[in-house]
């Protein structure tokens, strides 16, 4: 027990053994609403983008350093691992962007009504998928492969 609040979460069961009281939401019996998934995804993609920003910094610094350094970055991005990271980065960027707009609308006081919450959340997920596919399709078209 490393927090005074833990004292309130400990109880005894019918056999007088110490147990932890369940906390809400109890994940095991909780049906995940789509808004909860979206909220967790917003934070997860935000953290993923922090890692992805390293690629942006590396790309810019290499561009300013010269052709040799830039070729190393381009080689990494074109590798299977690089492409996978870039795909994750693209999807995370679009999700965080669209989900962020949803949050900004909420902060402005609109869209908090129950009927619009779930459809808008599904729309954000669908648009993330569409935008990611479109950008990668456009990218491969531009490269002509």
């Amino acid at each position: 027990m490393n927090d005074i609040r833990d004292a309130l979460l400990v109880a005894r069961d019918s056999q007088h053994g110490l147990i932890r009281r369940p906390v809400s939401p109890h994940i095991g019996i909780y049906r995940w609403p789509i808004t909860m998934v979206a909220s967790i995804l917003n934070r997860a993609t935000g953290i993923a983008l922090c890692a992805g920003s390293l690629l942006l910094v590396w790309w810019l610094v290499a561009a300013a350093s010269g052709p040799q350094d830039f070729a190393i970055v381009e080689g990494f991005i074109a590798s299977p691992l690089g492409l996978l990271l870039l795909l994750g980065w693209t999807a995370s960027l679009f999700y965080h962007l669209l989900s962020g707009i949803r949050h900004l609308l909420w902060d402005a006081g609109t869209g908090l009504e129950k009927p619009s919450l779930n459809p808008v959340t599904w729309l954000v997920l669908a648009l993330t998928f569409v935008a990611t596919v479109l950008v990668w399709f456009a990218g491969y078209m531009a490269l002509g492969v």
């Binding site: 920003s53 942006l56 810019l60 830039f70 531009a142």
Partner: protein
């Protein structure tokens, strides 16, 4: 209808009310800064994605010339400053949620701010260098 004579007791001190900093003891500045940077990043991010798409497969001199043009450099610098500012604001909230030992939490938040500052400076200096040598 409530009686006019009914007395409402406010437990909050008048000093606390005037300071207006609330339970976070820091006011709404952090929350607002997170939103303001987010609003600015919406158009900047869309611009950046389109710009990268239209330069796919080009070599270093082409990218350097593009990034060095004054307006592109200005937009890149804005993107960099706002991205890393938004990033350290967001990560701070993540650490505050999950790290419960105050000293460790503050150390991690400070390290995060330092890392974001250095990464942003490196990216910004790269753009400034490209802008300075571009023809």
């Amino acid at each position: 209808m409530a009686k006019q004579s009914e007395k409402i007791t406010v437990m909050r001190s008048q000093l606390g009310r005037v300071r207006g900093t609330g339970a976070a003891h820091a006011g709404a500045h952090h929350w607002k800064a997170e939103r303001v940077t987010a609003v600015a990043l919406v158009p900047l991010t869309v611009w950046f994605v389109i710009a990268v798409l239209s330069h796919l497969g080009t070599d270093q001199p082409a990218i350097a010339a593009w990034a060095g043009r004054p307006w592109n450099a200005a937009l890149l610098l804005a993107l960099i400053v706002l991205t890393f500012h938004h990033m350290q604001l967001g990560l701070q909230v993540v650490w505050e949620d999950y790290i419960h030992v105050i000293k460790r939490r503050n150390a991690v938040i400070l390290a995060t701010k330092g890392a974001c500052l250095l990464l942003g400076l490196a990216a910004g200096i790269a753009v400034l260098k490209l802008a300075a040598v571009a023809h």
